[in-house]
């Protein structure tokens, strides 16, 4: 019998350069730039320690709800290191490691996570968007920014992040479709961390891979071991080059794992097995890059300990500064809540602000 309906053909194998013991695979034809690897390793380690501190500060009641990054450091640092200042970073809400790489200060991060927009007020000309909480809404924005860049005659590229769950949103499909139709220079970087809150990847879509969805829109795609710093960087560099030079979008699916909670508002022990977490703990992206550096005699346990201690000092100092700033903000005039609703306040907002200030004064008295 003639078969008229073709089976889906997801011929993807995750691309990998670095084995778990830190040895390079044959695919890695050239020796990695070790100085760069060292810089990225430090960024990964810093993100890990900051993440842990954010969690304990949140548990103590000092910070608001946030989404930890633990386990996804290689996926973020390996990719974000491929774009420059002229390019755009368009995050979802879990890209703390990438945001630090882009220059967000620890103090700003802490102030922002404590709930103050003042912590987000980075450089005017920094091409970094604030976190987007509605899942996947940042993807059409990324395409719009990329298209605007082209219309303005720039060669800038947009790197945007999202998770496995986001691929079920209409925004994802609309963004890919537009990017393809408009030839927008966007790199769609999917961190498939296995879980959308409590929904496992298998319940998210019937597709064997997430990256195969890009093919339906005429977009090139790759699947990569997201805990392999070198592989993530190699694939992203190619995607960025293609976007910049040929004006073509692409999608990368990085296979990684969320080793922590989805956000500080949930409890993963209720929906996933400890065995699974243990399995991924053995694939920790930081251990892998440390194994590589040790094998190259670039680092030893003593140097790692010194680096850890230096990072702890940085964090302590940043938290001291942040606390001071937060205290000033808390003691300040709370009518700042009326700032930035519009570029210039309207008469109605001024009226409400005056009324509010009167109430506050009565509160104090």
């Amino acid at each position: 019998m003639t078969i008229l309906l073709a089976e889906p053909d997801p011929a993807f194998e995750p691309f990998r350069l670095l084995d778990r013991d830190g040895s390079l695979r044959d695919e890695a034809a050239v020796e990695p730039d070790i100085a760069m690897v060292e810089e990225m390793h430090e960024a990964m380690l810093r993100a890990r320690r900051v993440d842990e501190r954010l969690l304990s500060l949140q548990r103590r009641g000092d910070l608001g709800t946030f989404a930890p990054v633990k386990g996804q450091e290689a996926a973020q640092i390996g990719s974000i290191s491929c774009i420059g200042d002229e390019d755009w970073f368009v995050p979802s809400f879990r890209e703390m490691a990438a945001a630090l790489w882009r220059g967000q200060s620890l103090v700003d991060l802490l102030v922002a996570t404590a709930g103050w927009n003042e912590g987000l007020a980075t450089r005017q000309d920094a091409r970094n968007l604030p976190p987007a909480i509605p899942v996947a809404s940042q993807l059409p924005h990324a395409v719009g920014i990329a298209h605007a860049g082209r219309l303005r005659g720039e060669e800038s590229v947009v790197l945007t992040y999202f998770g496995d769950g986001a691929t079920s949103e209409g925004d994802f499909h609309e963004a890919l479709n537009f990017a393809s139709v408009l030839n927008a220079p966007v790199v769609f970087f999917c961190q498939n961390n296995g879980w959308a809150i409590s929904t496992p990847r298998a319940r998210q879509t019937g597709s064997r891979t997430l990256c195969q969805k890009a093919h339906a829109y005429g977009i090139s795609a790759a699947q990569v071991d997201g805990n392999d710093l070198l592989a993530v960087r190699a694939v992203t560099r190619e995607a960025v080059r293609r976007a910049r030079e040929e004006g073509r979008p692409s999608m990368i699916e990085a296979l990684t794992y969320r080793m922590e909670v989805h956000t500080t508002a949930d409890d993963p022990t209720r929906y996933r097995d400890d065995d699974e977490v243990e399995k991924w703990r053995a694939r920790d992206p930081i251990n892998r890059v440390q194994a590589l550096l040790k094998a190259r005699d670039q680092i030893d346990d003593e140097m790692i300990a010194a680096l850890e201690s230096q990072i702890e000092d940085e964090i302590n100092k940043a938290w001291d500064d942040a606390k001071e700033q937060i205290r000033e903000l808390e003691d300040g005039v709370p009518d700042a809540i009326f700032d930035h609703v519009f570029r210039e306040p309207t008469a109605e907002l001024d009226r409400q602000r005056d009324l509010f200030a009167k109430l506050e004064r009565r509160d104090d008295g």
């Binding site: 304990s56 604030p130 993807l139 924005h141 298209h147 605007a148 409890d267």
Partner: protein
């Protein structure tokens, strides 16, 4: 100084929880990162880690206690060199001491005057500052007759000539010259670089537009109708209206979302809805809803130049209606300023958009019956020109509002609320809000007419507030 350990909030909604277990006892030395307790909420069990170093001086809340409020002091740590006597000095009832306070105030605070002393409505003792009636164009300006459709097209073309960052995108806007021919001629003049036909995805191109605005352009996004913009409302409200605020003033979104809004003729329930009140409620959005061709042109030019997202609500039936438009090189109308179409002394009729059609007809008929109606066209719904309404009602002492949208939480309701709070003593009759009927739009022609506001209803309401 002792350190107070507070009951942590484990989720944004958590108000209280159970202190399930202490992992430390009094006298234990702890360091940052030690797990000191386990907390249970209805959602989850979580471990509490110490952030500070110290010696556990006192476990204030006993293990197993349920209903421990967030921010309550659960333990006190002693710092180096302190002894237990420091505890009494520090054991204040509320946990506001050394630890940074939560952003949210405890709602049981007795000093919160908002509960026991509501702000009184402030009867305005005097009229708001009279605003001199400024002519909208210089005396002697030549006028030309234009439809609203042509005026909108001219507004876009003029702004596109003026600023290279302005572009139009939407379904059918380029090759087909617009589903309602509003973009007629734009493709020829500005090419497909700036007049962009999109795939059929309102949500998609609204999001692309928002991104383009982030990226430094000034997009005009045309919705074939605002009924279809329902799919795009997440980008309008969560992205366009929020980003300036959520970026601490760094990333603005100068964008215009425009298209026909409200009922046309015989297009049924899913295609005949007025979203004026919906969008007017959202902080961060500006909302315009013009009636005349001159206002359509002047307001759209202002909207395109505005650094904030603007919702521009047009009307399919008004598109073909002709008005006088000043023949000026650069005519703009400020957003947030109402227009008095007709001076009067007996009753104030407040309307906007197509509601003005019924209102002006009614004013003519009322004049024949000896009632002098003042007619105000709001033109902008956010910001709303409350001064114009107040000034007029303080003169006429009566008010009727007219709109095609639904009655619950309507623009008219909002006007009534303003008048109640600021002009209560000036009112000689209750304010009447005329709206469309509280039903989905019927498809049948006769029922459709009945579901909308009618001129008869406006006349009737105006007479009733005048006790005639």
């Amino acid at each position: 100084m002792t350190i107070q350990v507070l009951m942590p909030a484990l989720s944004p909604t958590m108000e209280e929880g159970k202190l399930a277990k202490w992992n430390v006892k009094e006298g234990d030395a702890i360091t940052s990162g030690d797990i000191i307790a386990e907390i249970e909420t209805d959602k989850a069990t979580m471990e509490v880690e110490a952030v500070d170093e110290g010696v556990v001086g006192k476990l204030v809340i006993a293990e197993g206690t349920e209903g421990v409020k967030v921010n309550e002091v659960i333990a006190i740590l002693l710092e180096d060199g302190e002894d237990a006597s420091a505890i009494d000095a520090a054991a204040a009832p509320k946990g506001n001491g050394g630890a940074p306070a939560q952003a949210e105030k405890p709602s049981d605070s007795g000093s919160d005057v908002r509960h026991d002393a509501p702000v009184p409505a402030q009867p305005a003792a005097t009229l708001p500052d009279p605003e001199p009636e400024q002519a909208e164009w210089p005396e002697g300006t030549t006028m030309k007759t234009q439809t609203v459709r042509e005026a909108l097209r001219d507004a876009m073309a003029e702004e596109m000539r003026r600023d290279d960052a302005v572009f139009v995108m939407g379904e059918e806007v380029a090759e087909y010259q617009g589903a309602y021919k509003i973009t007629q001629g734009l493709l020829d003049e500005f090419s497909d670089r700036r007049v962009i036909d999109t795939p059929i995805t309102e949500h998609g191109f609204a999001g692309i537009g928002v991104g383009a605005a982030f990226g430094g352009l000034r997009p005009i996004v045309e919705f074939m109708t605002f009924n279809f913009a329902m799919q795009a409302i997440d980008h309008i409200i969560n992205s366009a209206a929020k980003t300036l605020y959520m970026s601490g003033g760094q990333m603005g979104c100068p964008i215009v979302f425009r298209g026909p809004n409200g009922a046309a003729a015989r297009v049924a329930a899913q295609h005949s809805q007025d979203y004026a009140a919906w969008y007017a409620q959202i902080p961060g959005l500006k909302v315009c809803m013009p009636y005349s061709a001159a206002d359509a042109k002047g307001l759209l030019k202002s909207a395109i130049r505005d650094p904030n997202p603007v919702i521009f609500l047009e009307n399919e039936i008004l598109y073909g209606k002709s008005f006088d438009v000043p023949d000026l090189e650069d005519f703009t109308v400020p957003i947030g300023k109402a227009k008095v179409w007709r001076q009067g002394t007996d009753v104030t009729l407040v309307s906007f958009g197509i509601g003005m059609t019924y209102t002006l007809e009614a004013a003519d008929r009322l004049a024949e019956e000896g009632i002098s109606a003042e007619v105000i066209d709001l033109r902008s719904l956010r910001p709303l020109d409350r001064g114009a309404v107040l000034r007029s009602v303080m003169k006429t002492n009566r008010c009727v509002t007219v709109e095609e949208g639904w009655p619950v939480c309507s623009i008219g309701n909002h006007i009534s609320s303003i008048l109640m709070q600021e002009a209560f003593d000036y009112l000689d009759a209750p304010v009447i809000n005329l709206t469309g009927k509280d039903v989905p739009m019927p498809y049948a022609a006769n029922l459709e007419k009945l579901a909308l506001v009618t001129t008869d209803e406006v006349v009737e309401a105006a007479k009733s507030v005048c006790y005639r």
